[in-house]
Amino acid sequence: MSGFAAVRLPDARWHPAEVAFWVALAAAPFVFPGHLVLGSQVLITGLFALSLDLILGYAGIVSLGHAAMFGAGAYTAGLLARHGWGEPLSGLAAAAVAGAAIAWATSFIAVRGGDLTRLMVTLGIGLMLYEAANQAARVTGGVDGLSDMAVRDLLGVFPFDLAGRTAYVYSFAVLFAVFLVCRRIVRSPFGLSLRGIRDGARRMPALGSPVRRRLIAIYSVSGAIAGIAGALLAQTTQFVGLEVLGFARSADLLVMLVLGGAGWLYGGLIGAALFMVAQNQLSSMNPVYWQFWLGLLLVAMVFVARGGVVGAIGLARERILGRAAR
């Protein structure tokens, strides 16, 4: 590396690999027309993982209760559609507000303290919301779930079909739009500030940075995105089950992000795809014990390829480039 000529700061420019990634996602329905339902689930879960990456990968906030915001969004969109407001885009917006509101309200306790405190507090908030939704069965449908939703045609033109074509395109478009915003956020001074907090929370106040305010801001943004993901699930499946708020959803999400690699934005998307495709394949091979293989994969990942799939690719690339340079 030779002085300032080589100074690299993350710009907004697109790497060819990124373009290829999005083209592949856009082309997927043509290559696997029979798997569109799974495809949209992967996109929605990827969006959810993206929201966790913002707080975990960039700001260093660990959470075992991110389903709280996802569920809030799902119920918001679901209840709106059930009670006569079936327009999907405004439903998404309402869900984003709900997710952000839950995140903002809980952020005052969720971003305090160390990692263990945060894990326990977010876990606790998630459990409370789950039981609240369970108790409010008259509104939420409780364990039976919320159905009888009338989601209207997308943009008044595209009905949600059984094959899941509209659902896939809709989920893809929303994921891409939100991703663009996240990409700007993490490359901005605000994003740099978050990385500073993640790496040196003790130093940040000495730079004049209001750490708490920054964390509350990103936690709320993350909550809004999780809410949008929840709403997408509700609208595309026309059903909201209690498990949208479940502990398993939060825990799986953390696993996916670690699997894909936190702090790269793409890690969550790749992790979600790997996790769900593996779940789909392994569980059809052995419906009871598929989690064994997932567990093995996770342990291997943490030991062999720290930083997840995306981290491993970066490492391999550095090695190859390093060899070429020598």
């Binding site: 590396m1 002085g3 300032f4 080589a6 100074v7 690299r8 700061l9 993350p10 710009d11 907004a12 700007r184 956020i185 490359r187 901005s188 001074p189 605000f190 994003g191 740099l192 500030s193 990385r195 500073g196 993640r198 790496d199 040196g200 003790r202 130093r203 940040m204 106040p205 000495a206 730079l207 004049g208 940075s209 209001p210 750490v211 305010r213 920054r214 801001a217």
Partner: protein, 250 residues
């Protein structure tokens, strides 16, 4: 000369240990002021109280005559006072340039700006490059902090503080843990700072203290033992007793 930073009866204890006992102290504008004393004298605690890292249990802190005793640390920085840390407190995953840029963006109130990429903040990047160059970190600008040699990390520790453009700079053992040859480099950088930056520093190496300081405060068991010019301190019998009587400083 007038006092930029002043304390009145400042106290802080940790359990039964009185780390800082009713310290009343003044730092004059433009000073090169050393804070010395044996290990456990309360030097770092005093700096923590001044910067707001830790709240005091009694007493007050004044900056430019304003009482800032309970002002949060980040707002004291906005008023022009910042610090470095004895134990390197940096950003392992950020490069040298990014670390300095971060401090500049925070100083300029850009820390919440979330749309325009950092890479397009040309004025801030230029300034960061100047700071990096001034501290002889040019060749390492792109190196992540975690891969930086320790001596360079100590320089970055100062670079990040200077990027905040402080009027009052508190340095907690800026040359801690680096060889004497490199500590001269650190103090060379500090010596080149303009006089409108007031400096208070903690240092164990008496050669550096006597070369750089124009005024010295000796802290023993949380209280000020004596304060004076380097000549007065060198001649003071009580100071000698503290340092020599206890088998020197460690």
């Amino acid at each position: 000369m007038s006092a930029v930073l002043r304390t009145e009866g400042l106290s802080r204890s940790w359990g039964a240990l009185q780390a800082v006992k009713e310290v009343s102290f003044a730092l004059q504008a433009g000073a090169r002021h050393a804070l010395i004393g044996p290990n456990g004298a309360g030097k770092t605690t005093l700096v923590n109280l001044l910067t707001g890292t830790v709240p005091p249990q009694a007493g007050n802190v004044f900056l430019d005559g304003d009482r800032i005793t309970h002002l949060p640390q980040h707002l004291r920085v906005k008023r022009g006072m910042t610090r470095t840390f004895q134990i390197t407190t940096l950003f392992p995953g950020l490069t040298v340039l990014e670390s300095v840029l971060l401090a500049i963006c925070e100083r300029k109130g850009l820390g919440a700006s979330w749309w325009r990429p950092v890479a397009r903040h040309a004025a801030e990047i230029d300034e960061a490059r100047r700071v990096v160059r001034d501290l002889q970190l040019e060749a390492e600008a792109d190196v992540p902090t975690r891969s930086l040699p320790y001596g360079k990390q100590r320089l970055l520790e100062i670079a990040v503080a200077l990027a905040s453009r402080p009027r009052v700079l508190l340095l907690d053992e800026p040359a801690a843990g680096i060889p004497v040859s490199e500590s001269a480099e650190v103090f060379g950088v500090l010596a080149s700072l303009p006089r409108d930056v007031t400096i208070l520093f903690i240092e164990h190496d008496m050669n550096l203290v006597f070369r750089f300081a124009e005024r010295i405060t000796v802290l023993v068991e949380g209280s000020i033992l004596v304060e004076g010019t380097p000549q007065e301190i060198a001649a003071d019998a009580r100071v000698r007793e503290v340092y020599l009587g206890e088998g020197g400083h460690g």
